[in-house]
Symmetry: C2
Subunit: 242 residues, 2 copies
């Protein structure tokens, strides 16, 4: 029997596959905020008919990544400073809640998962810092950056998974996706420097200490502010609010 992740496309219909691809295209900014999503264009890009496309768009509608107007088709959900602030603050609250519950309920396996993720993350951070200093190779910089982000997300997921609540974790996932769109749009215009990652590493160390010593209040507060850090950067730089 072959193991397969949840995002396996072989046992999914076209709509499910398009959801994943289209979601990436929106989160990564290939389709820009407010942009009209014409069926002809989407048919070309994903090589499917209108039926799976509309099903996929219907799903992203609920996740608030697209908007719809009757007889006028779909558009990418617009962005705004107000929504940016709302998403990040809500996300910080939710993540903090996850942490609180995780500290209460987490077992040894939970702790092990955290230190394992932290270890991987630290390794990737070292590699990334080296790559960033070396201004030459911007291709592998982007590559290492993506790996770091995946591990960073994995680290926080390892922590929050301890809350043992699929419902709450699903809320968290949805908010993470919406926030990552804003972050990616920001990244398109700004280049990151090493300082960001050093501060991040410090945050993570402090957070892990608080978690392993089961200091719930401190951990919640650290996470809350850790998530609001990026927000402050995004908030000040006004990128294209279409």
């Amino acid at each position: 029997m072959i193991e397969m992740g949840a995002d396996d496309s072989s046992n999914e219909n076209f709509a499910g596959q398009v959801v994943n691809q289209l979601k990436l295209d929106i989160l990564n900014g290939y389709f820009t905020p407010g942009e009209k999503l014409k069926m002809a264009r989407l048919k070309e890009r994903y090589h499917v008919g209108v039926s799976p496309l509309r099903e996929a768009l219907s799903q992203l509608l609920v996740e608030q990544l697209v908007v719809v107007e009757n007889q006028r088709g779909f558009r990418v959900h617009p962005i705004s400073k107000a929504e940016l602030a709302d998403i990040y603050h809500t996300r910080a609250h939710i993540e903090s809640l996850c942490v609180k519950l995780a500290v209460e309920q987490g077992d040894d396996a939970w702790e092990a998962g955290i230190v394992a993720s932290a270890h991987q993350l630290k390794k990737a951070a070292v590699l990334l810092n080296a790559t960033l200093s070396d201004a030459a190779d911007s291709d592998s910089a982007r590559d290492n950056m993506q790996k770091w982000e995946a591990l960073h997300h994995g680290f926080h997921s390892a922590i929050t998974s301890g809350c043992q609540s699929p419902t709450l974790l699903d809320v968290r996932r949805s908010l993470y996706e919406k926030a990552s769109r804003y972050r990616n749009l920001w990244l398109k215009q700004h280049m990151v420097n090493n300082q960001v990652f050093d501060a991040n590493q410090k945050d993570h160390d402090e957070l892990m200490d608080a978690l392993l010593s089961r200091n719930s209040d401190l951990a919640c507060q650290l996470v809350y502010e850790h998530l609001l850090g990026p927000f402050k950067l995004l908030q000040n730089s006004d990128f294209d609010y279409a």
Copy 2:
């Protein structure tokens, strides 16, 4: 210019209308948990083709009211004791968070909305209690019950609206809907007595006092336990876990 609510169906395509109707049918238990949703049946019931149906089902899929398996169609999302507990606990946490933020940010209009809703609710509760004592008219009992529930929901919505976070309120709405499915399924098997509403009224009075005096911690705790009250009833009675 005519005012119209958000759930106006005239400016919605078929899919949007089917979403509302189908959602009601699932929440009210017309379609039972785990039941197969055959296209032929749905076409008959809602008088639309498969395209709008699949779009509607795709939306309910994200809201986790239906599940899908490739080439095997859609089913109503199954229920379980585990999910029941998870939804209600998460909902209690979220609602509590809404209250905390609302107490911090609520203005005079917010307070006014609360007392207004509370007044309406109390009136409806009196009427409902009278109807419930009168065992004869079970039709108007159900009718008054629905009105009371709408006002009850309105009361709590008036409170939580003060948090000023569309994102968080949307999470709340989604959880409310999922929870109401379990509650409705329970109501199909059990008859309510006056005691429940008396206790409820007491909860609401205490809660409103805490809110108006801006006692955040107390209000949060009261709401948390107020929402977990129904859960305890549902948890013990094992209705059809399909």
